[in-house]
Each structure stands twice: as structure tokens, then as C-alpha cells.
């Protein structure tokens, strides 16, 4: 060692686990590829186009807005996830320019205007979807039968739009369950196949990227409440965006509470609101608005639901 040698310094700890934000994003993206593949399989070229437009506009908007804000653009994968998830919750027949509008709104307004990744209050995907529903309600509620790569699309309704949904006659719909489980039904691009979403969600759980409490409490609440209200719980669980919402949206760390208990409150709230909107609301599907509402409540939950520090309760007792 030479006397003039300089040492580097850094704060402790000097070890890092190395699972960075962008690594988490790309792993999530990997899990998302499964429902994406199902969407392309069932809805063909049209789905692929919607996905490509949504993702590319999301990333471009992120680059542009970062430039306008004078912040460095980091390719952390979060814009790709936002773009992809937005495409997955859109109907396959939506005009592509509307997709672009939704994608730009998601990134520029819902995410970046609030300060970017980590600072947004609302899930950008759901914010973008709500915006599109408000502006283009007809296009956002036109559904087609899964036709794969065949040319002609047949307009139909989603299972949630059927008039038997809120009746007790639900015993013998095994065929319908099977179609909904596999994804061979009308709906948004990436939400129809419960099976592939469950596998993707399973990957997220196995990698400990999401908290198991959220999907369990969310889907569980929906099942229990539909039973109570006399609806078919299996249909309610498989229908609409519930599975995708429970595994990929309600688990978004940024817009959901930070504590375990807070997350359970959040997920149960999502479940209750979903059923209320589905049963009494003006539209058949309530998952997306339910999560958006609960996003708004998240800062409040985080304010009041805290962790009990080591040695806390007894300290209070001994003081009084």
C-alpha cells in the first residue's frame, strides 16, 4: 500500500441483495406474457396490434415527459408494464387511435404528472382505462366472440352482461365455467383466461414479488359476497377483470398500502366495491373502478395502519 492511496467510502450496509426495481419490473413482465399470449391466441392480429400500439406509445410518452420534466429517463420496464396491462384490459375491437390516447393519458397524466414511478396515487393503467371509458363508452363496451386469427368478428356480450348472472340458477353451467377458465369467451384482451393469469400470478407469488394476502382477500371477498347476494360465486370469480386485477393491479406496490394489515383492508375493500358496482352499478364490470377507489383510500390506510414496533405495547402499559 502506498501512503498516498485513497480509500473509497460508502454508507453501510456494504451488501445489497440486488433485486432492483427494474429487475422486479421485468420479472413481472415475464409473468404477464402468459395472459398476453392467451389474448393473442383468442383475439388474433387485432389483439397484437392493440398491444403494440399501447406499449410503444407508453414508452414514447415516458421518454418525452421525462425530457420535458428535465429528469433522466430510466428504462426500468415500468412503462412497458403500464402499456401492456392497459392493452390487456381493452376490448379487442377498440380503434387504435383510442388505444394511443389511453396510453398517453396513463403515462403523462396518471403517472408522470404526479411525480413518476413511486409517486403516483392511482394505478396508471386503471386511470387510463377509466379515461377511455368516460370518453368512448360505446367502443369500450363492444365485445366480440374469440375468433383467433379468423377474419370476421361476431358482436356478443360478456358473461357478466348476461341476464342470468344475478339469479340462483347457476348449478349446471359447467361448459361456461370451462370456457371462462380457459379464456374462450368474450372480454378484454388479456382478462379472459383465468388459467394463464393464475399461472402468471403463481410465478409472482413464488418469486415473492407480490403479497399473497391481496389476491386471496380480493377474490375471497368477491366469492363470499356473491354467495350472500345470491349470485354464482364461481362465475363471479372467473368473470371480467377480477383475476387480472387481483394478481396484477391490486398488487401494484406503489398504489396499494405498505403494511400487511393495510393490504388486507385494501383488498377486502376492492372486493366489496367490485360486487357493489357489478350488482347495482350502471355497468357490468366493477373491478377496475373498485381498485381505483381503493387507490384513493391508500394514503389514508397507510396513515392509520402502522406496524407495532418491538417492545411497544408493554411500554404503553408500563407508562400508564
Amino acid at each position: 500500500m502506498t501512503p498516498e492511496m485513497e480509500f473509497k467510502v460508502s454508507p453501510s450496509p456494504h451488501l445489497w441483495r440486488g433485486r432492483s426495481t427494474s429487475k422486479i419490473m421485468y420479472l413481472t413482465l415475464l409473468a404477464l406474457l402468459l395472459p398476453t399470449a392467451a389474448g393473442i391466441y383468442f383475439f388474433g392480429y387485432r389483439a397484437l396490434l392493440v398491444i403494440l400500439v399501447s406499449v410503444s406509445f407508453a414508452v414514447l410518452t415516458e421518454v418525452l415527459v421525462k425530457k420535458l420534466r428535465g429528469r433522466p429517463f430510466v428504462m426500468d420496464g415500468s412503462a412497458i408494464i403500464t402499456g401492456l396491462l392497459l392493452a390487456l384490459v381493452l376490448p379487442p375491437t377498440i380503434p387504435l387511435w383510442m388505444v394511443a390516447v389511453g396510453s398517453v393519458f396513463s403515462i403523462a397524466i396518471v403517472k408522470e404528472a404526479f411525480g413518476g414511478l413511486g409517486h403516483n396515487i392511482f394505478n396508471p393503467v386503471l386511470g387510463g382505462r377509466a379515461f377511455l371509458t368516460a370518453c368512448f363508452s360505446v367502443e369500450m363496451t363492444t365485445w366480440i366472440k374469440p375468433m383467433g386469427f379468423a377474419a370476421d368478428a361476431i358482436i356478443t356480450t360478456t358473461p357478466l352482461g348476461e341476464n342470468f348472472v344475478w339469479s340462483w340458477r347457476w348449478a349446471a353451467r359447467l361448459d361456461l365455467y370451462k370456457d371462462m377458465f380457459l379464456g374462450d369467451t368474450a372480454g378484454s384482451i388479456g382478462t379472459t383466461s383465468a388459467l394463464l393469469i393464475l399461472i402468471g400470478g403463481g410465478i409472482l407469488l413464488a418469486l415473492k414479488l407480490i403479497d399473497w394476502r391481496v389476491p386471496l382477500a380480493f377474490v375471497g371477498t368477491v366469492a363470499v359476497l356473491s354467495l350472500v347476494m345470491g349470485a354464482d360465486p364461481i362465475l363471479q370469480m372467473l368473470a371480467g377483470g377480477l383475476m387480472l386485477g387481483a394478481f396484477f393491479m391490486a398488487t401494484d406496490p406503489v398504489t396499494s398500502p405498505i403494511t400487511h394489515r393495510g393490504r388486507i383492508i385494501f383488498a377486502v375493500g376492492c372486493g366489496v366495491l367490485t360486487i357493489i358496482i357489478r350488482r347495482f352499478g350502471g355497468m357490468p364490470e366493477g373491478v377496475y373502478y373498485a381498485i381505483l377507489f381503493m387507490n384513493a383510500v391508500t394514503p389514508l390506510i397507510d396513515r392509520y395502519v402502522k406496524v407495532r414496533p418491538f417492545g411497544f405495547q408493554k411500554a404503553v402499559q408500563s407508562a400508564t
Binding site: M1, M5, P11, S12, L15, P253, V254
Partner: protein, 440 residues
């Protein structure tokens, strides 16, 4: 009778890569440094008066400071030679100025005459306390408590458990492990002295399950000497070496916020302290050296027996020098150790390791509220809050979020996806809060 109890495991924290490369490497004697710097305020005790002047000749083990306070310990010269200066230097772990005595070695290592206690087997508690204080034993518990003060708990607290901490929680560090293997008899004898003074019901030796050989050898020694000690194996994980989590794991008692281990009837000592207490009583030897693991990107990593005050550069040179460009020199382990900017930073009584490691840049990105830091925090705090509060200057809210019980173990920052240096923010907040407290 079964000496080894069931394995206990830690309920929080993370599993870290162990990297305990030096576990099988025997302790070597570090060469005597040509100069030592002995910090006068290195422990929590009251300030002492200097007994030597510049130019004085001192012998190894000679007292150089002392005070009349019970709550303080004398310091000793760690080499023989001449006092070259009494000055201020920068404290390597806090960055604050501290008073030091610098001694230039004459290379002969002439010791003062050691005075062992005449009859160690029949010694009274008062005499033990006196001898331990005289030897200047400081417990390596992370906060440099004084060993003899811990032996005299407040009158109203009944101590029923003594835990000897051989857990050694940090990666890379193997000094306590080697002490248990090579000085097992001294460690257990020291523990027996503590038992004599504190008269607890239970005495546990807590050892990480990654140190099977240390458990075996101590078990054998306990049987041979007929001690009434139990060995508690603990599943290796991090963090679990600080008093509160160790007590919770071993005897399942929770120390209150602002409370002491003695409140729940427990005293915890480090294994090296037990060895030092044995040496103080049986050999009359002052506490002037300890085992330090020198590891990482050095040519020839070793476990060394080092005199206090030895400059860190001497150890690195002796171990073959730094082998990688861009390395940082850390005093302590990789999780809680402090990077040094000064090659002359002295080894303290709580230095268990000198780690040389290639420096990693810190990114400090935006928090994505994933909550991992909350899941792993052993004190069950919400570490994510502290950087957010500090960035906007809301220090008082750090205080209401119980920042004072944070042990700065570093698991939060280790696990953080955004690579936020949470511990550094905690230090900033604690410092600002204590500054405000001082003003009020």
C-alpha cells in the same frame, strides 16, 4: 443431562450469503505496530484523566488514564515505548473529533508486572468487579458497554438469565468463532465468573448453527468442567446479535422501548468479553488486544490477535495488501461496518473485522412502497418512512416513528429494490434529533 437445547430460529430479517472464508484459519499474532493511537473516549464510560505526559516512557499494560468514577474504565498502553503526543484525531466510527494518546513502540514489548488475583476460586464479587474494572474490559456488544457495570445491575432488577453471545451475525466475520474454538476454556471460565457474580438461574451460550465445530468443542468443555451452562443453537440469519433480538429469540422476552436488558432479567455478554474477564482475574492481564478478522480483497486474509490502537493499514499490509482497484476499507462487518478514509484509523475494542471490499455505487432511486423493509426489520419499524421524512426535513416525525430503537443493522437497505441508503438517512435524522435535544 442435555447440554445442547433445541435449535431456535429468528423470525425476522434475511438470510445473507455467509462468506465466512476465514472460519478454519487459526488465530495469528499480528506484528507489533510501530505506533498506536489509543482513543480516550472509545466506550460509553465517563471521561477519564490522563496519567501520562508527552515524552513519558510506558510499559505494555501500564495504565495511561483513570478516573474515580465507577462508571468508567482505565485505559492501558498497548505497546511499550514513548508517549509521542496527546492530541485529537477523528473517530473512525462517528467522524467526530476525539482525544487520543499516541505511543511510539520501542519494539521490545516490555510488560508491566501482572498481578493475578491471589485466590481466584474464592474471590468475592467486589474483588471481581474491581479487577474487571481495573483491566478495562469493554463488552463488544455494539455499544461498548463496560463489562463491570453490566456485572452490577440495578438493585431492583433480579437477573435470572445470562446469555453469552457467540452468534456472530455478520457475513465474513469469524473472530468470535475462532475465539470459541481456540480459547474455549477461557471463555467458559469467564462465563463462570459472571455466573458467580450475577447468580442467575440459567446460563445460555447462544451460537449460530453455522458454527457446528464451536458448539461441539464448547459442549465437550462444559461436560469436562462440569459447568451448568446450556448451549442454544440458533439458525443462521441476519440480524440477530444485538441484545434485544437475541433475548427475544433465546428466552422469548421483549425488552420495552427505552428499556434495558436488565428489565427482563437478562444480561448478555460477548464471548470475547468472557475471555477478557477470565484473563483479568486469573492472569491480571489488562484488556489490550482482541481477535480481528481481516478478509475480503486482500492478498492473504487472516484472523489476527491485534493490540488496540493498531492502525488499520498495518493489518492490511500484513495480510498482503489490497488486491482490487476501487476497494473500500471497512472497519466492522459488511452490514454495519464503517468505511474508512484514513489508513491510520485505529482498531478499537469493538472492531471484530477489517473488511476490504470493492465499493458498489449507491443508486438511491424512488421508493416504490414494496414494503420489504417493513417485513425484514427486526425492530418492526417502518424504515421506508425515514428517508421520506428526512428529505423534507420532518425530523420530529422520525422521532414519533420510533427511530431511536433502530439498531442500524442494515437489513432494510440490503433488501431495498430502489437501493435507498436507508441507514444513512436514519443516521442523519438521529444526529439532527440529538442536536435539537441538546439545544432544548
Amino acid at each position: 443431562m442435555n447440554i445442547r437445547l433445541d435449535k431456535k430460529s429468528l423470525r425476522y430479517g434475511v438470510e445473507l450469503p455467509q462468506n465466512k472464508l476465514m472460519a478454519q484459519s487459526p488465530i495469528e499474532l499480528a506484528p507489533l505496530p510501530e505506533m498506536v493511537t489509543i482513543p480516550l473516549e472509545e466506550n460509553v464510560g465517563a471521561a477519564s484523566e490522563t496519567l501520562v505526559n508527552k515524552g513519558d516512557k510506558v510499559l505494555t499494560g501500564q495504565k495511561i488514564t483513570d478516573s474515580d468514577e465507577f462508571d468508567s474504565v482505565p485505559m492501558h498502553a498497548t505497546v511499550s515505548g514513548e508517549v509521542t503526543s496527546i492530541t485529537t484525531a477523528i473517530n473512525p466510527s462517528t467522524g467526530q473529533a476525539m482525544k487520543v494518546i499516541a505511543i511510539t513502540s520501542d519494539g521490545e514489548d516490555k510488560w508491566v508486572e501482572l498481578q493475578p488475583c491471589p485466590n481466584p476460586e474464592a474471590i468475592s464479587s467486589e474483588e471481581i468487579l474491581k479487577a474487571v474494572r481495573e483491566a478495562g474490559v469493554v463488552d463488544a456488544d455494539g455499544i461498548t458497554s463496560l463489562a463491570h457495570v453490566k456485572l452490577l445491575p440495578p438493585k431492583d432488577k433480579k437477573i435470572d438469565t445470562v446469555i453469552l453471545n457467540g452468534y456472530e451475525w455478520e457475513p465474513y466475520v469469524t473472530s468470535d468463532h475462532r475465539v470459541m474454538l481456540e480459547y474455549g476454556e477461557k471463555v467458559l471460565s469467564g462465563l463462570n465468573i459472571m455466573k458467580k457474580v450475577l447468580s442467575p438461574v440459567n446460563v445460555y451460550v447462544a451460537i449460530g448453527d453455522n458454527k457446528e465445530d464451536a458448539m461441539d468443542s464448547l459442549e465437550e468443555l462444559i461436560v469436562k468442567a462440569g459447568y451448568d451452562f446450556k448451549i442454544t443453537p440458533i439458525k443462521a440469519g441476519y440480524p440477530l446479535g444485538d441484545e434485544k433480538t437475541l433475548i427475544k429469540t433465546v428466552v422469548n422476552r421483549e425488552v420495552l422501548i427505552g428499556g434495558l436488558a436488565a428489565d427482563v432479567g437478562v444480561v448478555v455478554y460477548n464471548v470475547s468479553t468472557a475471555k477478557a474477564i477470565h484473563e483479568a482475574i486469573y492472569e491480571g492481564k489488562p484488556y489490550i488486544e482482541r481477535v480481528v478478522t481481516v478478509t475480503g480483497t486482500v492478498g492473504n486474509p487472516k484472523n489476527l490477535l491485534v493490540r488496540f490502537g493498531t492502525p488499520v493499514k498495518n493489518l492490511i499490509e500484513y495480510c498482503g495488501g489490497i488486491t482490487e482497484e476501487g476497494s473500500e476499507v471497512i472497519i466492522g462487518g459488511p452490514m454495519t461496518g464503517i468505511s474508512q478514509f484514513d489508513p491510520d484509523s485505529p482498531i478499537f475494542s469493538d472492531t471484530n473485522c477489517v473488511l476490504v471490499k470493492v465499493s458498489q455505487p449507491i443508486m438511491d432511486m424512488d421508493c416504490i412502497s414494496c414494503g420489504h423493509c417493513i417485513e425484514v426489520c427486526p425492530m418492526k419499524l417502518m424504515p421506508t418512512l425515514y428517508p421520506k421524512y428526512v428529505k423534507v426535513g420532518r425530523y420530529n416525525e422520525c422521532a414519533t416513528a420510533y427511530i431511536d430503537i433502530c439498531t442500524e443493522c442494515g437489513v432494510c437497505a440490503y433488501t431495498c429494490p430502489a437501493n435507498i441508503p436507508i441507514v444513512q438517512y436514519v443516521r442523519v435524522a438521529k444526529k439532527e434529533l440529538s442536536r435539537r435535544m441538546g439545544k432544548e
